[in-house]
C-alpha cells in the first residue's frame, strides 16, 4: 500500500493546515538542532583542538587503518566463517536423517537465542584473556557463530523457496540427493539469499563495535585511545566520527544489497516471517 492511499488529496483548508504542521515541525526540528549545537558550543565541543586530531594525517591513518580497516577485516572474516557455518547447519537442518537434523537445529537455535556479547565474553576467556589476539578472535568467532546461525535459517528458507518442481525434475533425471542439493537447489537459493547475506554483513559490522567490551582492536578501540588521551579529551567529537564512519559503510552496504536484490532476486523475496514463525534475523 503506497502512502498516498492513506489520505485524500488535500483541499484548500487541509492544505493550509498541513502547511501549518509542516512549519511547526520545521521550526521544532531547527530549534532542537540549534539547541544541540548551542549547548555543544557552550561546552567547547567545537574547539578546533578537539577536532584537530581528525585532520592530522598520522591520526587519520591510525583511525582508518588500525580502526576502520581492522573492523572491516573482523566483519569480513566473520561473514566468511558465517557463510560456511550457515551452509553446513542450514543443509544439516534439511537433512533426511534425524541424527543430523536435530543437532543442527539445536545448534542453530542456541546461537540465535544467545546474545553476541555473551558469546564474545565466553570466547575471550576460553581463548585466554592474555593470549595473543584472543580478543580479536573472540569477536570473530562470536560473530561467526551468531551470524552463521542466522544465515543457516536464511539458507533453509531460501532452499524451501526454490520451486518444488526443480528438485522433482532433478530427481526425475536420476540425480542423487547431494547432486540435487549442490547443482540445483543451492545455486538458486544462494541467488535469492544474496541480499539477506549483505544485510547480515551490516549486522556483523555493527556488532564489531561490541568488541570494546573484550578490548578487541578496531574502530572503537582506536576511538577510545584517542578520547582517553588527555591532550585531546574529545569524547563527543570522536563519537561523531565513529558514528559517521559506521553509518557510511553501512549505507554503502545497503545500496549494494538493494542493487543485488534488483539484479538477482527480482521480486522474489524470501518471506522469513512466514517461513518460520515469529523470528527472523533482523536486528
Amino acid at each position: 500500500m503506497s502512502a498516498n492511499v492513506l489520505f485524500d488529496a488535500p483541499g484548500p483548508k487541509t492544505a493550509a493546515r498541513h502547511r501549518a504542521y509542516a512549519i511547526v515541525t520545521a521550526v521544532a526540528l531547527v530549534a532542537v538542532l540549534a539547541w544541540v549545537i548551542y549547548r555543544f558550543n557552550e561546552k567547547g565541543q567545537f574547539e578546533s583542538s578537539k577536532w584537530e586530531v581528525f585532520v592530522t594525517p598520522d591520526y587519520v591513518r591510525v583511525l582508518l587503518v588500525d580502526g576502520l580497516l581492522k573492523t572491516l577485516q573482523m566483519a569480513a572474516t566473520a561473514i566468511i566463517g558465517a557463510v560456511a557455518f550457515g551452509v553446513v547447519f542450514g543443509v544439516g537442518k534439511l537433512s533426511d536423517h534425524a541424527w543430523v537434523r536435530v543437532p543442527s537445529a539445536l545448534v542453530v537455535e542456541f546461537f540465535r537465542a544467545v546474545p553476541v556479547l555473551l558469546l564474545m565474553v565466553f570466547t575471550w576467556y576460553w581463548l585466554g584473556i592474555n593470549a595473543d589476539n584472543s580478543s580479536y578472535w573472540a569477536v570473530v568467532l562470536a560473530l561467526t557463530a551468531y551470524n552463521g546461525a542466522v544465515l543457516a535459517e536464511v539458507l533453509r528458507a531460501g532452499i524451501n523457496a526454490v520451486p518444488k518442481g526443480q528438485s522433482e525434475a532433478a530427481y526425475a533425471i536420476g540425480m542423487r540427493k547431494n547432486q540435487v542439493m549442490r547443482l540445483v537447489q543451492m545455486p538458486q537459493a544462494v541467488k535469492i539469499m544474496l541480499p539477506a547475506i549483505i544485510s547480515q554483513c551490516i549486522v556483523a559490522l555493527k556488532d564489531t563495535a561490541l568488541g570494546i567490551y573484550v578490548l578487541a582492536p578496531g574502530l572503537t578501540y582506536v576511538a577510545r585511545q584517542i578520547y582517553l588521551d588527555p591532550q585531546f579529551n574529545n569524547r563527543v567529537p570522536t563519537m561523531f566520527v565513529v558514528a559517521v564512519l559506521y553509518v557510511s559503510v553501512n549505507l554503502l552496504l545497503t545500496l549494494l544489497a538493494t542493487w543485488l536484490q534488483k539484479r538477482y532476486a527480482g521480486e522474489k523475496k524470501i518471506d522469513l516471517a512466514a517461513a518460520r514463525g515469529p523470528r527472523n534475523p533482523e536486528r
Partner: protein, 227 residues
Amino acid sequence: MTAITDNFDLYLRGFGYTIALFVVSGIGSLLLGTFLVAMRVGPIAIMRSAAAVYVTVVRNTPLVVVFAFFAFAAPMLGITFGFLDVEIGQFEFSSLFGSAVVSLTLYTSTFVCEALRSGINAVPLGQAEAARAIGLTFGGTMTQVVLPQAFRASVPPLASVQIALLKNTSVAAVFGIAEAVYQMRALTNNYASERTVIFVCFAAGYVVLVELLSFAANRIERRWRIA
C-alpha cells in the same frame, strides 16, 4: 557448579535487570515506533523525511555508539536522568538505567517502525480507500482501520524485533549496568576454571527467555490472525 550455586542471587538479579530493561524499553519502543511510522506514512512531507532520516541513521549506527551518546554527549545537553533514583527491593534504577532504557528505546523504535511499515504495506488497499470513502481523516484512517490490521500483520516481525531487543539489553553491560552479561563476566573473572558452566547457565537463561517470548508471540499471532 559452585560458581553459580553460591552466587545464585547475583544470577537472578542479573536477569532481573535484563528483564526490567527489556520490559521498559520494549513498551517505549513500541510506542515511539508507532509514532514514527505514522510520521513516515503521513501527509506532511517534512515529517516523512525527518522520520526517514532518523530511521536510516539510527538503524545503521551500532548500539554501542548510541549508548555512548547517552553516556558522553547527553550530559552536555543537560540530559542526565539524575532525577531517576528509584529503589525497588534490591534493584536500583539510577541514571545509568535511565540512559540505557532511552538508548535501547531509540534504537529499537527504528526497527519497530520498519516492521510496522511492512505491516501497513500488507493491509489491502481497499481498506484505506473504504475508510477514506466514509470520510475518515488521516488520523481516523490510521487509528481505526489501518493500524489495527497492520499490528496483526506485523506480529511476527515485531516479535523478532523484541527478541533482538532482549538480546541487545546485554550491551548495557558495557556501560556498567549489572545485568546478566555483566554478572557473567564478573563471575568468569572470579571462577576462571568454571567458565564453561557459567557460560552455559547464563546462555540457558537467555534461551529460556527467548523461547518464552517466541511462544507468546506465536500464541498472539494465532489469536489475532485475520481470517
